[in-house]
Point group: C2
Chain length 321, copies 2
C-alpha cells in the first residue's frame, strides 16, 4: 500500500508516522505545502497512492483513480466540502475522514478560555492596578460577571460543539445549538437556521463554530447581529468567511455587542490597517484554537488509528464522506 502525505512535521512526528505505517510506503510531494492549513498543489504522486494524509489538492484527489481514502489533517475541510467533490467521492467510493477528534478538545478549551476571560474581564483587570474600594475598583469589580446560568447559542453542532457542551455542563448554562438538519434524540435544544431568531435574541453568548461552505458564507450578517440581545458577546472559532466583518465592527461600535472574541478572520491575519484591530472590545487570536503541544504527533496518532481500522475494514473515526 502507498500512502501520500504532504504534512510538514517535526522529526518526532515523522518517526511516529514511518514506524506506524511500515511496511507500507510513504510518498511525499515534490513541492511541500507552506502550512498545515494550506494547499500543497496538484501532485502527480497522488495518482499512484491508495491513501492520502494531509491537505492534498481536491482536483488531484478526484483524478486519482487508485486513491480510496483521504484523511484530512484538520477539522475544517472546506476545499472538499462541495457538491461536486461529495458526488464524485460517492461515485468513486472514496472515503474522507478529518481530524476532528484531535481538535475538538483544544478548540472547546479555547472557547471556554475566551468566555471566561470575557466574564471575568481579564483584559481590563490584568491592566488595572486600582486600590480596593476605589471608584475604579468598584467599577471593574461590578463589570465582572458569571458564566453560570447564562444563555449560550452554538452555531454548528459537530465534534467541537459537543465537547464544548460537555465542558460547560457544570457551569449550569442554558445551551441551544444550531445545525443544518435536525436529528432526533439530542440532549439539548437544537434549531435550524430558520428557527434561530428567538435563540439569538435570548443569547448572552453566541459561539460560531460554522465551517466554511456555500451555505455558511456571511452567515452572521448585519441582520443576524441585529437580532442579538444588547450586551451579548460573539465568539468565532469556525471560519472567518462565515461573518460579515463590517457588520460585526458596527455592532461593536454601537455597543450592541459588548465584545467579540475571534480566533478566525478573513483574511488571516487581518491586514495592519483593518478596522477590527482598532474596534473596541474586539479580541483576536491568530487561528490557534486547535493548537496544542505535540499537535503533529496527535495528528499522526489519529491517522494511524484510522489506518489500522482501514486495513482491518473497520469503520473509520471522524468520517465526513
Amino acid at each position: 500500500m502507498k500512502i501520500f502525505t504532504d504534512m510538514i512535521m517535526d522529526d518526532a512526528a515523522w518517526k511516529l508516522l514511518r514506524d506506524g505505517v511500515a511496511p507500507h510506503e510513504i510518498v511525499t510531494p515534490e513541492e511541500p505545502a507552506a502550512s498545515v492549513l494550506s494547499n500543497s498543489g496538484a501532485d502527480p504522486a497522488l495518482a499512484e497512492v491508495d491513501a492520502a494524509f494531509g491537505q492534498p489538492d481536491a482536483a488531484a484527489v478526484l483524478q486519482s483513480s487508485r486513491l480510496r481514502w483521504l484523511h484530512v489533517a484538520s477539522a475544517g475541510y472546506t476545499r472538499y466540502d462541495t457538491n461536486e467533490f461529495r458526488n464524485a467521492a460517492r461515485t468513486r467510493g472514496l472515503v474522507v475522514t478529518n481530524s476532528s477528534a484531535v481538535y475538538a478538545q483544544p478548540c472547546a478549551e479555547h472557547v471556554i478560555a475566551f468566555m471566561l476571560a470575557q466574564v471575568r474581564q481579564l483584559p481590563a483587570s490584568l491592566a488595572n492596578r486600582s486600590e480596593n474600594g476605589s471608584n475604579d475598583w468598584n467599577v471593574l469589580r461590578d463589570s465582572c460577571s458569571l458564566l453560570r446560568e447564562q444563555n449560550v447559542v452554538i452555531l454548528g453542532f459537530g465534534a467541537i460543539a459537543k465537547h464544548l457542551i460537555d465542558l460547560l455542563r457544570p457551569f449550569d448554562v442554558r445551551v441551544t445549538a444550531m445545525r443544518r438538519k435536525l436529528a432526533p434524540g439530542e440532549n439539548i435544544p437544537v434549531v435550524t437556521s430558520e428557527q434561530l431568531s428567538d435563540a439569538l435574541a435570548e443569547a448572552d453568548h453566541v459561539v460560531n463554530i460554522l465551517p466554511a461552505n456555500s451555505e455558511s458564507a456571511r452567515f452572521m450578517s448585519a441582520a443576524r447581529f441585529a437580532e442579538m440581545k444588547r450586551g451579548a458577546i460573539f465568539y468565532n472559532i469556525g471560519r472567518g468567511s462565515t461573518v460579515d466583518q463590517d457588520a460585526l465592527a458596527a455592532a461593536l461600535h454601537s455597543g450592541l455587542l459588548a465584545a467579540a472574541w475571534l480566533d478566525v478572520t478573513e483574511p488571516e491575519p487581518l491586514p495592519p490597517g483593518h478596522p477590527l484591530w482598532k474596534t473596541p472590545n474586539c479580541f483576536i487570536t491568530p487561528h490557534i484554537a486547535g493548537g496544542h503541544r505535540n499537535e503533529m504527533q496527535s495528528l499522526v496518532r489519529h491517522f494511524l488509528d484510522n489506518l489500522r481500522r482501514f486495513l482491518e475494514g473497520a469503520p473509520l473515526r471522524d468520517r465526513v464522506m
Copy 2:
C-alpha cells in the same frame, strides 16, 4: 431586634436590606468603612445590637455582650480568625457566618479563567498577528496546551475549592487538595501540609486559596516553590500574605515556574516599583476574583436568608464559628 451594618451599598441593595429586615431595626456606624474589605473601626453602636452584617471591628464585636450573631460580608474573615476571638466567641455563644456561598462561584470561575488563559496562552496570542505557517505562528501554536489530564493541586479545601473541583470535572484533570485536617469520605485525594511535597512535585497547576491566618503566613516559601515541577504554574486567589513574593519572583525569573496568576498580593495594589509588576509571566488582577454584577445584592440576599434561619432557630449557612 437591632442589626448593625457597616456595608457600603448602592440604593438597590439598601432597599433590599431594609425591606428584608423590616420590622427589625438597622443601625449604621457613624464613620463608614472605606471598602467592603476594610475595617470600619470600633463603633459604640455595636454594643446595642443583636446581629451584625459587614466587617465590624473584632474587639468591638467581643465587647458587645448583646451581640449574638456576626455575618461577615466576605469569604475571608482574617481579623476574626484568631484563637483569642474563637475562644471568646465560643465562651460568649457568638455565632459567626461568612459569605462563602456568594463568592465561591465567582472565585472558582476566576481561577478557571486564569488556568485556561494560561494553557491557551491568551496574553501572548492576543498580541500576536502572525501568519498561518510562519515560524512565530508555529511557536505560538505549539506553546498552547490543554487543561485536560493535567495535575492540579489546590491549597485550601473550602467552599471555593469545592466549586472549582466541580467546574474542573469534565476537563478530566487529576486534583489533589490540601487542608489543615483530614476528614473521612472525601471524593478526591486530600493531604495535610506535611504530606504536600509529593503532590507539589507532580503538579502542573498549584492553586492557592489559603486564607490569611497565623498558620498560612508565607506558606508558599522558597522551599515549597523549590519542590514544584519545572514549568508548573502558580495561582493565588487566597491572600497575598500566604506567599513569599520574593521567592515567587525568583522562581519565575529562573524559569522554574512558567507563569503565575495572582488576584491577591501583599500589599494591594503592589507599589509602582514592585518587582512582580515586571517579572515575566506574572499576571495580576486587583483582588476582583469574587466580584460580580450586583454583588451587594447577592451579599444582602445571603444575609437575609441567614437572618430568616436565625429568627427560626435553624442552622445558619456558611457558619465558621
